[in-house]
């Protein structure tokens, strides 16, 4: 017996075995818990006589959505179904999120550079900007932007057009090339044009990195984008026409209309997120070895060239993962839209759930939608991250 004891350590003394057992127990408990939750949901649904079906998505929605054109296709409350309405909401969320990410990045990087400026005033201003915005709730900021700033503009009845552009508390209305009702949808062309423009930009920037010869990648990209738009315009039989806003009994109609809700949400999200991006930028720049700046200066590069060509590209590598987080935050914060009346996907789903009585399903859809959005953003950021990663030879 004595010799046995020495030969094999009992399992409750064996750290490795214990760890394994703990993990197995943990796994079993988690699986059990998930099963319980599902079971609980089922029981609850049964108790309330609810069935978890998505058939309602085929029914006519019958309510208005303030910003009801999705991917260039207008929404008609008298015939379109709930599925379409969710799509409209999704489009509105994407619209504010994508625009927001781009603008927040630009603004945030500028403020971040300002934070490190050797100019005392610029540095202080940037600091105050960052600290105020970072330390107040985004919902409060949205209320200020919407109710105080945007709705504080003159009423549309009193607004004077400047070059045909109306800026009032009903939003911005401007002359524009607008879709003709019975013609093919031009929206996909715009998207394709942007994608091609981006591809061209990537290609020529890359070429510069390889050959060292400066190429105006930005101009090439814009030219490509414009070219695709023009080709698309004629290929589709000229589906756009000039439209200018005209004053009616209530507000203006026609042209391009940007609603005050969209504007306030966009500004609010951009400004809020930019304060975080500014800090990320600052940290990124500070992470680049000071020797890099000194070397660049010694080679005769000016301040902005040093920043653009030497510092920022290196800082970017550090910045990308936290930037991705900010993009996720911005997208999720856009769900505060209902507070200021913007028809984002959560707002629209809330109404849909209430109208159809299928609240549980609409919450479920909302969860899935945000999950997909988040995964997509994370995926794209990771993709970019691995593409720009430092390659060791």
């Amino acid at each position: 017996m004595n010799s046995q004891m020495q030969a094999s350590v009992p399992f409750y003394r064996d750290v490795k075995k214990l760890a394994l057992i703990a993990q197995v127990v943990f796994l079993v408990v988690v699986v059990l818990l998930i099963a319980l939750v599902i079971n609980n949901i089922n029981l609850g649904l049964k108790k309330q006589n609810l069935n978890f079906s998505f058939d309602f998505l085929n029914q006519t929605a019958g309510f208005q959505v303030a910003e009801g054109t999705a991917f260039g296709v207008p929404y008609d409350s008298s015939s379109d179904n709930y599925f379409k309405v969710v799509f409209v909401g999704l489009y509105n969320t994407l619209r504010v999120a994508v625009t927001g990410m781009i603008l927040a990045t630009v603004l945030g990087v500028l403020v971040g550079i300002g934070r490190l400026s050797s100019n005392w005033l610029v540095g202080r201003l940037a600091l105050v900007y960052v600290e105020i915005l970072r330390n107040t709730p985004v919902l409060v900021q949205l209320f200020v932007w919407y109710f105080v700033v945007i709705l504080g503009l003159p009423a549309i009845s009193k607004a004077q057009p400047i070059l045909g552009v109306y800026l009032s508390n009903s939003g911005l209305a401007t002359p524009w090339l607008v879709q003709k009702p019975d013609m093919p949808n031009f929206f996909p062309v715009t998207i394709i044009a942007v994608l091609i423009g981006l591809a061209v930009f990537a290609f020529f920037s890359n070429q510069r990195a390889r050959t060292g010869k400066p190429t105006p990648a930005g101009w090439y990209a814009i030219a490509a984008w414009l070219l695709v738009q023009i080709i698309g315009f004629f290929a589709l039989g000229q589906p756009l026409e000039y439209g200018a806003p005209v004053r009616g009994n209530f507000g203006v109609t026609g042209g391009l209309q940007v609603s005050p809700e969209f504007t306030a949400l966009l500004i609010g999200l951009v400004v809020y997120t930019s304060s975080f991006i500014a800090e990320i930028t600052r940290a990124g720049i500070q992470s680049v070895n000071k020797g890099q700046t000194e070397a660049a200066r010694a080679l005769g590069l000016g301040y902005s060239e040093t920043l653009q060509l030497i510092i920022l590209p290196q800082a970017l590598r550090v910045m990308i993962p936290p930037l991705g987080n900010q993009y996720l935050n911005l997208t999720k914060n856009s769900s505060l839209a209902v507070a200021i009346g913007y028809s984002d996907v959560l707002n629209v789903l809330g109404t849909a759930g209430n109208q159809s009585g299928q609240n549980l399903q609409t919450f479920f859809i909302a969860g899935i939608v945000y999950l997909i959005l988040s995964f997509t953003i994370a995926f794209l950021v990771n993709l970019y991250n691995s593409a720009t990663r430092l390659r060791t030879r």
């Binding site: 760890a19 127990v25 209530f250 707002n347 809330g350």
Partner: protein, 344 residues
């Protein structure tokens, strides 16, 4: 000691699992038993609609719907103060019942077939007959609702009003734009800032918003009513025992008015020889017991909150800012729609 954390985590999760199990196992008792065991009613109300449900700066709730909550507490406990209020937005009220967060909701909620059928709640008796109206600024050019073609109309999310207003203009082949906010305070803020040409909700709600605004003469409620909005309390589905308690609380107040009983004369009425009155007061018959309440539950209700007339007058009547007419909300004997089944 790495594994120690894992074991602690497993235990914690097992504990949660056991908790979930316990909740699941609770199963099929009536909400009435839950309420009695808790010793308190939890009632969902509006906190921002003066006259119906309003939370004042002292943290006290008041209003028409709030008084009905107190009535239910009086019926169950003989004590109208045994109630906690939970303030609910329009969009959150149904999930609050489905999840069991509150026992009953009295929150100017329209009784509709889809809410009864799809949402999974059961309604009690209608305690206020209403209809949807439209309010504009006093200086608006609109005289009738149809004049608002092309206008921006604002309302709050999660209500019947979004569909009603769309139906109204759709049927007349007129265009409008509807902007929807989270709650009605935001709607009014946007309206006051000039974002909306009109706001729409239940007429009673409009009257309340107008009456309690800084300057009521700024607003004009258009004459037409575009929908039926019968407002009723609701409870979780498939619990008729609990729904009965809520229903007979509402009926008690209506019946009291029919019998001309009030909070002041109800004690004296105990000497009445009228068998109808005696049955209502629980002096004869067994109706209270059958409902799972005390024999004289109606006395407790009326003593605490009064008859329907008293509740109406106290919160919405001529002596209040709202000054609403009784109209359909008069008793059937006065040409209104209120009618209680007999207590027998």
């Amino acid at each position: 000691m790495k594994y120690k954390n894992a074991i602690i985590a497993s235990l914690a999760i097992a504990g949660i699992a056991a908790g979930v199990l316990a909740v699941t196992a609770q199963g099929s008792t009536s909400r009435l038993d839950t309420v009695k065991k808790r010793g308190k009613l939890i009632c969902g109300v509006n906190a921002t609609l003066s006259g119906f449900g309003f939370l004042d700066s002292n943290g006290k709730y008041s209003g028409f719907d709030v008084d009905f909550c107190r009535g239910v507490a009086a019926a169950v406990f003989g004590d109208a103060s045994k109630v906690d209020f939970v303030s609910l937005t329009a969009a959150a009220r149904f999930t609050a019942i489905q999840s069991g967060e509150v026992d009953v909701v009295f929150r100017n909620t329209t009784f509709t077939s889809s809410r009864d059928g799809d949402v999974g709640v059961d309604f009690g008796p209608i305690n206020f007959y209403d209809g949807q109206g439209v309010m504009v600024k006093a200086d608006s050019a609109a005289k009738r609702i149809a004049d608002l073609a092309g206008a921006t109309i604002c309302t709050n999310q999660g209500t019947t009003t979004e569909q009603n207003i769309n139906d109204y203009f759709r049927q007349r082949k007129l265009q409008i734009k509807v902007v929807t906010y989270q709650d009605f305070n935001l709607v009014m803020a946007a309206f006051n800032q000039g974002r909306c040409d009109a706001v729409t909700t239940d007429s009673s709600g409009l009257a309340s918003q107008k009456a309690t605004s800084a300057d009521p003469s700024n607003y004009r409620i258009l004459g037409e009513v575009i929908s039926k909005e019968p407002l009723a309390p609701f409870v979780a589905q498939n619990d008729s025992k609990w729904r009965d308690v809520v229903s007979w609380t509402v009926y008690s107040t209506i019946y009291a008015e029919e019998l001309e009983l009030t909070s002041r004369n109800i004690d004296a009425a105990k000497t009445s020889t009228d068998p109808v009155v005696r049955r209502f007061l629980g002096l004869e018959g067994t109706s209270g017991k059958g409902l799972g309440l005390s024999a004289d539950f109606a006395v407790d209700i009326i003593k605490a909150v009064g008859s329907y007339k008293e509740i109406f007058d106290r919160n919405l009547g001529p002596k209040t800012k709202l000054n609403l007419p009784r109209r359909q909300n008069a008793n059937y004997e006065q040409g209104g729609l209120l009618y209680s089944p007999p207590f027998r």
